[in-house]
């Protein structure tokens, strides 16, 4: 039971991470194609605020405050009762609303599969591809050292 709950939470968190990284236009486009319902009652927001970003001294030591970042969040309730939340960097209120609805729909067994396959999977694929491109472009700038032997001895 605990294992199932942990998996459940991991799945929900993974969806939230994907939505937080994704572009608003891309979420809206896939949403329109997915046939997912988008009616929901707004319980909070969408509202923009700040989070204070923390780092660690030396990279792994005690925490310290680095600076702020804009974050927009929303909370919605579906007609079926599920409550969904969203948080993401930036100031896009439309994205916050859709992401909160996606979170709520994901908790509804009727819609979870659609959210995963029609929304999360293509978003994830695009994000992974972009990350991979960046990674191999960066890898091309890795230095290969070689040793030059000079003289006869």
């Amino acid at each position: 039971m605990r294992g199932r709950e942990a998996r459940e939470q991991a799945g929900r968190k993974a969806l939230m991470a994907t939505l937080a990284h994704a572009e608003a236009d891309e979420i809206a486009r896939l949403w329109n194609e997915s046939g997912l319902p988008s009616e929901a009652e707004l319980l909070r927001g969408p509202e923009t605020g700040l989070v204070t970003v923390r780092g660690r001294i030396g990279g792994g030591g005690a925490p310290f405050n680095v600076g702020e970042a804009t974050v927009t969040r929303a909370t919605v309730r579906l007609p079926s009762g599920q409550v969904g939340h969203s948080y993401a960097l930036g100031r896009d209120k439309g994205k916050a609303r859709l992401a909160a609805i996606a979170d709520a729909l994901w908790q509804d067994p009727v819609h979870r599969e659609t959210v995963e396959t029609k929304l999360a999977a293509p978003l994830r694929a695009a994000l992974d591809a972009a990350r991979e491109t960046k990674r191999v472009e960066t890898a091309a700038t890795k230095v290969d050292f070689f040793t030059m032997v000079r003289g006869e001895d």
């Binding site: 937080a20 509202e47 605020g49 970003v53 923390r54 030396g58 405050n65 974050v71 100031r91 990674r135």
Partner: protein, 370 residues
């Protein structure tokens, strides 16, 4: 009696209208779009985010264009905007070891796991102006090297062995990180608060101070243990969810400076460290921050405080360019009454001085005559 003098409303309104016109410039030249600034003046945008202490590229780009490219004015705009927003909380500390690295170099170890990755750097360019860029030439797409992903642990984690390099900076377990946006500065201050101030500090000021340590004012023999630039994930604990909610990622630059240290009454000979972490891609700022962080640890490490860069109150009180520009620039605002008062004072002192002079001269004459 105090008499207020009012006026200039029409002049101010027209000056702002003129500013808007001059900002826009020649109307036959297309207006800049924010996405052009975000994409093509990215490091300027990063500086505004770092010193404005607000990670939001579009807002920083808007500030840059609204300030006509005046960076400190742009930083001021961003700082002012920040104060209008509520705060949702403090993120969990970012894990720079898990960064999606875009650049990573070490000047101390050639063969470290993950290797030396140059990324999009100005290093090794010839600093020649490029007329082709002016002509709007197309640029090549980047080269790709499809290799297996490789972990890139922080160099500090690799070097901890032997105990010759000090550990990451620790604080007592019950220490709550200080926040200069919530509490006024107090000296002496803990290292975590100093780092927050340095991270938003003026790049030029910190660069000059860092440079001064290299030139012998608080010399501390620095090496770049590691610089890394890339994206780190942000997560926030919120009461409504049973897990830390992912917010997306931000680009940061981290610098681990490693400094030779001959030991003191307080600490044995070892390599000590200075740390820099800033928003965006700015290794100059991260390096300067790390140099200043190390210099400011003088008292903690039992070193004599002999130079400006080691003087905490001097460095931290003057590192904020919004405060600095506010106080310097306020001098140009009307001080008519202050000046009139001072003018009267100087006139009186001058009259007294001249009266004294004349008296002395008269006395000299009398003495000569006698």
């Amino acid at each position: 009696m105090y008499v207020a003098v009012k006026g200039g409303e029409a002049a101010i309104a027209n000056a702002h209208r003129l500013l808007a016109d001059r900002r826009r410039g020649d109307r036959s030249v297309p207006a800049l779009r924010l996405d052009q600034i975000v994409e093509q003046l990215a490091l300027g945008v990063d500086r505004v985010m770092s010193e404005g202490s607000l990670y939001d590229r579009e807002l920083a780009a808007l500030a840059v264009v609204q300030a006509r490219g005046d960076m400190i004015e742009a930083i001021f705009l961003v700082r002012a905007y920040r104060t209008t927003l509520p705060r949702f909380g403090y993120t969990n500390p970012v894990d720079t070891g898990a960064m999606q690295v875009e650049r990573r170099v070490s000047a101390t170890y050639k063969d470290l796991p993950g290797g030396q990755v140059l990324g999009p750097t100005f290093d090794y360019t010839h600093r020649l102006l490029d007329p082709e860029l002016a002509a709007g030439a197309e640029v090549e797409t980047p080269a790709q090297r499809p290799v297996e992903p490789e972990a890139m642990p922080r160099v500090s984690a690799i070097l901890a062995h032997e105990g010759l390099i000090e550990a990451d900076g620790e604080m007592p377990l019950d220490h709550v990180p200080g926040d200069i946006t919530r509490e006024p500065l107090q000296f002496p201050m803990a290292r975590d608060i100093r780092l927050q101030a340095l991270s938003r500090g003026d790049e030029g000021f910190l660069l000059a101070l860092g440079y001064s340590t290299q030139r012998g004012y608080a010399r501390n023999h620095p090496f770049v243990g590691e610089i890394r630039i890339g994206e780190v994930e942000l997560e926030l604990d919120v009461p409504e969810l049973p897990f830390a909610v992912p917010l997306g990622s931000i680009r940061v630059t981290e610098c681990q400076m490693v400094n030779q240290f001959k030991g003191s009454a307080k600490a044995p000979p070892q390599f000590t460290r200075g740390y820099g972490l800033v928003f965006g891609q700015s290794e100059r700022k991260a390096m300067a921050m790390a140099l200043c962080d190390r210099a400011l640890r003088a008292s903690e490490l039992g070193e004599d405080v002999v130079a400006a860069a080691q003087d905490e109150e001097f460095v931290i009180s003057h590192s904020d360019n919004v405060q600095a520009t506010g106080f310097v620039e306020h001098l140009k605002l009307p001080h008519y009454v202050d000046f009139q008062a001072e003018l009267g004072l100087v006139r009186r002192m001058r009259a007294e001085y001249e009266a004294r002079e004349n008296e002395d001269k008269a006395e000299d004459k009398r003495e000569a005559a006698e």
